[in-house]
Every structure is written in structure tokens, then in C-alpha cells.
Amino acid sequence: MTKLPEELYQERVKRVKDVIQLKTPDRVPVFGPHQLYPYTFGGVTLKEAMYDYAKAREACHKFVDEFQPDLDFGPILAYPAKPMETLGLKYLKWPGKGLDDHVIYQYVEDEYMNEAEYDDFIRDPSDFMLTKWVPRTFSGLEAFSNFPTMRRMMWSGWMGLGAFASPEMQESFRIAVEAGKQINEWWESLFQYIGEVKEKGFPIAWAAFDWAPFDIIGDTLRGTRGILNDIIRCPDKLLEALEVATQIFIEYGSGAAEAELPLCWIWIHKGTGSFMSPKQFETFYWPWLRKGMLALIDKGITPLVYCEADVESRLEYFADVPKGKVIYHVAQTDLAKAKAVLGDTACIMGNVPNIMMYTGTPDDVKAYCKWAIDVAGKDGGYIMDTAVMLDEAKPENLKAMIDFTKEYGVYR
């Protein structure tokens, strides 16, 4: 008997919840690998998807109909190009704005906060972001550098509101309002999609996105070179700033509370491989990430720690979290080793090589998936997925990954 979409939806949600809690689910859950691939498969360029939200939804529907994953991602990675242009967003390049039509958006490295500004950020991060960071990173919001401080609104502070009357400030407000309307159109489209796939029986794999406290500072404020220098040049300031960034981390992730699948995807950038020494990792990276993750776990949220490079040297640290509450997504890391170290504590996800999805055969993929399930999925604790987000694949290879998992991954 064919199951109703509602039943399939509940089954999929339960499958994922079970695997997170390290209970044996009915079978290994499988994620529908996203990024450019659904658009590639649907014959839409990322540029088109970033401008035409209906096209983005259509491509994602086609993808989910064809591959029938347990978890879908939806068109959230097709960022809305219109408000990005309206705002004059400077820290990304995207298709049509410095990149070809079908290339994922990329970050433009810079020191958007200089070393001397650590104290400003630590003292009042909101004011720093509003009057320094935002004007530097959005050309349309440059006038916010004169935004009157709200800290001193009591007594006579409101007398500084004259700054709002300048033509520049009015223009920045106009831009912010216009961009706000454009962003809402995009959110509307996204939630329409999420409702539609739920009707079809597919849950969405994310409820919030987050970045490790170290990466919040290292990626977007100080830049990679900046923060690597700071580890040696001003470690105490960096530690103070990490305390602030941890609060921002918790804010980012807290949006996931109350979701049906409260997964918070945490993108690990500078914590992988040989970026920093174990000593530096246990001073500047892990304690802050862990503190933030524990706060999210307290709110009933499941951190999904997404590691895009080798994390073998970090596994012992990763094991120091409450049991059955975290998913670790691994890429260029020995899956058997990851399972040995983390298996009693956390669910593992990913690891199927992207190059194999692109250049291998369905038999190669099946053999790898069999190995992955045997190694990491014994009695649960594993979610099938590619090593990193997927841009290119032969459809038959992705089909092989998903269908084989549904067949071989059944727990009897």
C-alpha cells in the first residue's frame, strides 16, 4: 500500500530524530545533497535562481521529486540577488557580480574590522556593527556610520537624532526599506517551498545556520590573515572578543528552537586540519564553539557541525559533548576513525567523495556507500551524504547513493 505524504513526512522526521539520539532507526537516513546541484540538474543557472525565485523553487521541486531524499535543503542557498544589489553588498561575489552564471557565491577576504577596533567590538558589538562594519560592507548603508547611538537616548540623547535628517542618511534608509521588501519576497518564496515539500512528505534539514565563534571573528571581521596574526599578536583581546562572539553564535542558532527538526548547521572553517595547533585549537576555537553548542543543546537544538576539510586531529575534542545531541558532518576524514572516536557520543554524516559523484560510476558509489554504512552505520548513528555540498554529479550516481542507502541501509 502506498503511504500518504503525511506518513512519509512523520517517518522521515522520526528516522532523523532516532539517528541523532543514537537509537537504531528503521534505516540509514539519506540527505539530498545541495548547493548548485539541484539547479544544475534542473537546467537553471544559479544566476537565474538568484533572480527568479519561482525558477529556483521549480528546480528544487524537480530535484526532490526525482531523488526522494529523507531530508531536503530547499532553495535557501540561491541567495536573493536583488536586495544584494540594492544594498551594495561588498563582501561577496556572486553570479553576474564578479562571477560566472553558474558558480557558487564566494567571500571577498578583507579586514572589515582592524586590530585597533577590538575594544569597540567588545564594548558594544551592536554599535560597532551598525556604525563601522555595516557602512564598510554595504555601500548603500554608508550613512549609518553617523547613526546616532541609542545607548544615550535617555535624558537629552534624543537630541542627536538630527543625524537622521541628512540627505545621505535618508538615502540609506530608503535603500534599507527597499532591500527589506525585496528580502521579504524571497523569504515568502522560501516558506512557500517549505510548505509545498512538506505536503509531499519531505522535511527540511535546517532550522538555523551558524558559524563557530572563532570564524565569526576570523571570516567576517578580522579576515583570515588578521585573525591568524592576532593569535600571536594580541591573544588576550581575541579571547575577550570570542566571549562576545559566542553570544552572537548562540543568537544565530537559537532560531532553530521549536522547529520540528531543530537542526542548526554550523559551518566549520578555520577549525579544521592543520590550520592551527592543537594547543591553539583548545584555546581559541573549541571551548567557545563547545560553550555555544551546549547553550543550543539546552534549548533543545541539535548542532550539525559541518566540517569541510580534514578534522581527524579534532575528533577527540568533538567527542566531549552530551550523548545523542550532536551531528558531525565529515569530509576528508577517515570515516572509520571518526566512528571509533565519536560513535558512542554523536551521529556522523557525509563522507561520500564529491569527485566520485562526478566522475565515478553507480557501482563505485554503491561500493563506497556499502563501506560507509558498514563502517559508520552499524545499529544507527550515520546519515548518508556527500563529503561536501554538491555542485556537480552524474544523476545516476546520486540516484545510486540514495536508492542504495534505502535498500542496503535498512536495519532488520
Binding site: Q106, G273, S277, A331, Q332, I355, T359, D391, E392
Partner: protein, 211 residues
């Protein structure tokens, strides 16, 4: 003095290093000798990086010290250079479609301090630009960098363009980036891959010679 400077740089004592540089210049020490000391210090740093005493923070920090020393010393070098002959020439760049530069910059820097003549083409480099540069400078080694999986095809296209230009056999090609492995290396048609900067230096040395 020179020995002291080498150690100050390699041990991350930047203030001391800069003071020594100024003292040495005041004493009339040949500026070239100071630059040589910088290079020797970076060889030590490179070795410490390789044996995992140092990681990227130390590499970037000492690189910064070296840059500051260069700013002080280079204007004082008039015309004549007694620099040693480079071990070999390398053309390097981040392939078309990819704008990530940190990894590539670190590799280029380490190659430079290890006495290779590095021609850095930057980021988002079209295949033709690689071909033109290879024809112009005739390097022994070409380094292709890429962070994204889209770089797989870009690297392959670049290497195909090098083949079509009839110069593939004149160069060794290495690829670098977090997603690179032997499967990718085979797919794109490279000679070797690396996931960290010292691999690139060691490959270049093995291919060109020199220790």
C-alpha cells in the same frame, strides 16, 4: 648580529627583530645581508611548520615580520643585488571561477622564501593566462590552486589548454586545496596534489632539485 636576527624572526620576536634591523642598518651592515637573514629565518619557520611545531598562525605572523623588514630595508638597496640564483621558476594561481587566495598566497610565499622565482597570477585565472605565462617565463613547475569543487573542472580545463599548447611535457603540475586528493589529481591530469603548503615546497624541490 645576523644569527640573532634570524632567531628573533623565527622565534616570533617581532619587536626585537625590527630593532635589530634598524641597529644593523645604523651600523652600516649591508642591507642584502639583512634580507638574506630573513630568508634563512623563514627556512627555519618552514621546517617548524613541517614538523608541526608551527602552524598557519606562526607562518602568517613571521611572514608579516618579514614584510615589515622588507619595507625598512629594500629602499636602502641601491641597484646592485647579490641575491643568489633561484632554484627554479614556478607559475602559480587560483583557477578560473575560484577567488580564494589564502592557501595560494601561503604556498607562493613559502616557495619564494625557499628561493624559487614565483610568478603569481592571482585568483580567478583563465586557462589562457596560465598558458601565456608558461610560454613567457618557461617555468619548471606550475601550481594550480582551488578551494571549491568547481575547481576540479577548471583545473582540468587549464591542464588541457596547456596540453593543447604543446607545453605540457615542459612542466610538472601540482594542484592544491582542501578537496584535492589522488582521485582529483588523476581526473584533472596533474602530476601531484597537496593539502598543505610544505607539500608544494617539497614537490618543487624534488622536481627541480635542491634541498
Amino acid at each position: 648580529m645576523k644569527e640573532k636576527l634570524i632567531n628573533a624572526i623565527a622565534d616570533k620576536h617581532e619587536e626585537e627583530a625590527l630593532k635589530l634591523v634598524n641597529d644593523m642598518l645604523a651600523d652600516g651592515v649591508d642591507p642584502q645581508l639583512i634580507l638574506d637573514a630573513g630568508k634563512e629565518a623563514m627556512v627555519i619557520v618552514g621546517k617548524r611548520f613541517e614538523d608541526e611545531t608551527y602552524f598557519l598562525p606562526e607562518l602568517v605572523f613571521t611572514g608579516e615580520t618579514l614584510r615589515k623588514i622588507g619595507e625598512i630595508v629594500k629602499p636602502k638597496i641601491q641597484g646592485k643585488s647579490t641575491e643568489t640564483k633561484p632554484l627554479g621558476k614556478i607559475v602559480i594561481g587560483t583557477v578560473n571561477g575560484d577567488i580564494h587566495d589564502i592557501g595560494k598566497d601561503i604556498v607562493a610565499f613559502l616557495l619564494d622564501v625557499n628561493n624559487f622565482e614565483v610568478h603569481d597570477l592571482g585568483i580567478n585565472v583563465p586557462a589562457e593566462t596560465f598558458v601565456d605565462k608558461i610560454k613567457e617565463v618557461k617555468p619548471e613547475v606550475v601550481g594550480l590552486s582551488g578551494f571549491l569543487t568547481l575547481a576540479f573542472d577548471s583545473m582540468r580545463n587549464t591542464i588541457n589548454a596547456i596540453k593543447e599548447a604543446g607545453i605540457r611535457d615542459d612542466v610538472k603540475i601540482m594542484i592544491g586545496g582542501a578537496q584535492m586528493d589522488d582521485k582529483v589529481s588523476t581526473y584533472v591530469g596533474a602530476d601531484a596534489f597537496g593539502n598543505d603548503a610544505t607539500v608544494a615546497v617539497n614537490l618543487a624541490k624534488a622536481w627541480i632539485g635542491g634541498n
